[in-house]
């Protein structure tokens, strides 16, 4: 099957300010790609370029015609001041499909209800979005992305600020959605540990090193590669079938 979207030898960044050069990546329909790197390393810019929000400065982006994208922002980027119910937020996922000439109908509401139920919050349809816990908000935003019936689910730091239990629950949910729904997942994270047990492929991004590297998870999780990315020694350990990744205290590398 052809990739859903690909960047070919792209330079990414903003007009007059390229952050990364020579980026080539193809997102396949069954992909689970995690993009990791330090804060401010260019991950979000890469994602925005992949989604078509930012044009590549050089090279090109090729996407499947009428590619349906579901997007999940960082939950604290969404303004909880707005007086919206969970259902109101999830229904927004239908807006790109319905288009300016269409109206949100009963079918769209039904799809949104199913999406909210799929993330385990079916009984919170009428609850105020602003009164939800952090984890519930994140699930609601995932439900909104699912309401778009996406072929590609893109997430920006979906577990940012979550406690370990909520992080685990969110990542399990993403894995289940990926497996059951046949949805390609591209997520960015600065927490390698959060993605090390879920992604199929891993990409490293760091504009300061003009670093762009992508490969299968097992190949990319080698301590030498990670130490190069983070500038300090990193240990990768496997225990009870789960991978643990952590930097060594005082292990800075020149």
């Amino acid at each position: 099957m052809p990739p859903l979207v690909r960047l070919e030898d792209a330079s990414i960044g903003y007009v007059g300010r390229a952050l990364l050069h020579g980026v080539s990546v193809a997102v396949e329909p069954e992909d689970f790609l995690a993009v990791v790197g330090p804060n401010g390393g260019g991950k979000t810019t890469l994602l925005r370029t992949l989604l078509g929000v930012l044009p590549p400065l050089e090279g090109r982006r090729v996407a499947e015609g009428r590619l349906r994208i579901g997007y999940v922002p960082q939950r604290d980027h969404v303004d909880a001041l707005w007086p919206l119910g969970c259902g109101d937020v999830v229904v927004m996922g239908r807006v790109p499909l319905v288009g300016p000439r269409g109206r949100i109908g009963a079918d769209d509401v039904e799809v949104a209800r199913r999406a909210l139920a799929r993330v385990g919050l079916g009984d919170l349809w009428g609850r105020s979005f602003g009164t939800l816990s952090g984890g519930q908000r994140q699930r609601t935003l995932i439900a909104r992305a699912l309401a778009a019936e996406p072929r590609l689910l893109a997430l920006d730091e979906p577990t940012n600020g979550m406690d370990p239990s909520a992080e685990l629950a969110a990542m399990d949910l993403l894995r289940d959605l990926h497996r059951a729904g046949g949805i390609a997942v591209v997520m960015i994270s600065h927490r390698l540990e959060a993605v090390a047990n879920y992604a199929r492929r891993l990409a490293f991004v760091d504009k300061d090193q003009d670093l762009w590297r992508i490969g299968p998870l097992e190949e990319m999780l080698r301590p030498e590669a990670l130490s190069h990315l983070y500038g300090r020694e990193v240990i990768v350990r496997e225990e009870d079938g789960r991978r643990f990744v952590y930097p060594v205290a005082g292990g800075e590398r020149p």
Partner: protein, 281 residues
């Protein structure tokens, strides 16, 4: 005869001004929900100032060509150009990483304010026209202004009914809307076009200060009193109408300045909204 009965007996005088004030209050109250939720309260202040600058600019040009300055339709059109243009620029402004958007809004506000003062300084002989446009003249609103306000209200209502879901989505979560293919610049532009359209005609009726107040206070009260967007729009529209109408009647009966009274009435409506919120929680 009491002040109130005098008021009723003068219905022919106040009918059009009252209708225009209520329409302006309702229209701005509705738009104010977006202004408050998008956190662009000072954009509305800057647009009001730009609208006034448009009036000054039109008067200066008319005077430069030795034309009659009493062409209110020309003043209104130029005020619209300034206000809508300013809305489209300020509402979708991004100054990059070096400056926050508020810096651009602040600069527009003070520069427009300074140019208004400089321009007004050269227009001493048309001070009356200027005063009417800047501070409003709700006491004597011609029927023509009621019609213009009705047309503008209709255009705003139509655009916000047709494209409500796009405007709400791109206002609530611009990042996601953009990533999912919604044209956020277009819908932000539509929103600020309607705000820019409403401000000059409302300012002509009620004045600059009430315009700023109606774009902020009724929406703030409505957001305190309600928990959903639709009721917030309805309540803000109603409170805007009540503040404008109530302020108009109160100013007539108490013989005090109309615009300031409208603002005070609007402010007074926040208290019951706050109490309602406290009772509910």
């Amino acid at each position: 005869m009491s002040a109130l009965s005098e008021f009723w007996s003068a219905a022919v005088i106040w009918r059009d001004p009252l209708v225009a004030s209520v329409l302006a209050g309702a229209l701005l109250g509705f738009l104010g929900v977006y202004v408050v939720l998008r956190r662009v309260v000072f954009v509305s202040a800057a647009l009001t100032q730009l609208s006034t600058l448009g009036v000054i600019a039109s008067l200066l040009v008319l005077e430069a060509f030795d034309l009659e300055t009493d062409h209110q339709e020309i003043q209104l059109v130029v005020a619209w150009i300034f206000s809508v243009g300013g809305g489209l620029v300020l509402g979708t402004l991004g100054l990059g990483r070096r400056l926050p958007t508020e810096a651009g809004v602040g600069m527009a506000y003070v520069l427009a304010g300074a140019l208004v003062i400089l321009g007004a300084n050269r227009l001493v002989h048309v001070a009356h026209d200027l005063n009417t446009m800047v501070f409003g003249n709700a006491v004597a609103v011609p029927f023509q202004d009621v019609v213009i306000l009705l047309v503008v209200t209709g255009v705003v209502a139509l655009l916000h009914t047709l494209f409500r879901k796009e405007i709400v989505f791109s206002s609530f979560d611009r990042e996601t809307a953009e990533a999912m293919g919604v044209k956020v610049r277009l819908w932000g532009g539509v929103l600020f076009f309607t705000i820019g359209l409403a401000i000059p005609v409302a300012a002509h009726v009620v004045g600059a200060l009430p315009v700023f107040a109606f774009l902020t206070v009724p929406a703030a009260a409505a957001l305190l009193a309600t928990r959903r967007l639709e009721p917030a729009f309805a309540v803000a529209t109603g409170l805007g109408a009540v503040a404008a109408g109530g302020g108009y009647v109160a100013s007539w009966v108490l013989q005090v300045p109309t615009g300031a009274t409208m603002v005070v009435v609007a402010g007074a409506l926040v208290l019951p909204a706050w109490l309602w919120k406290r009772l509910q929680s």
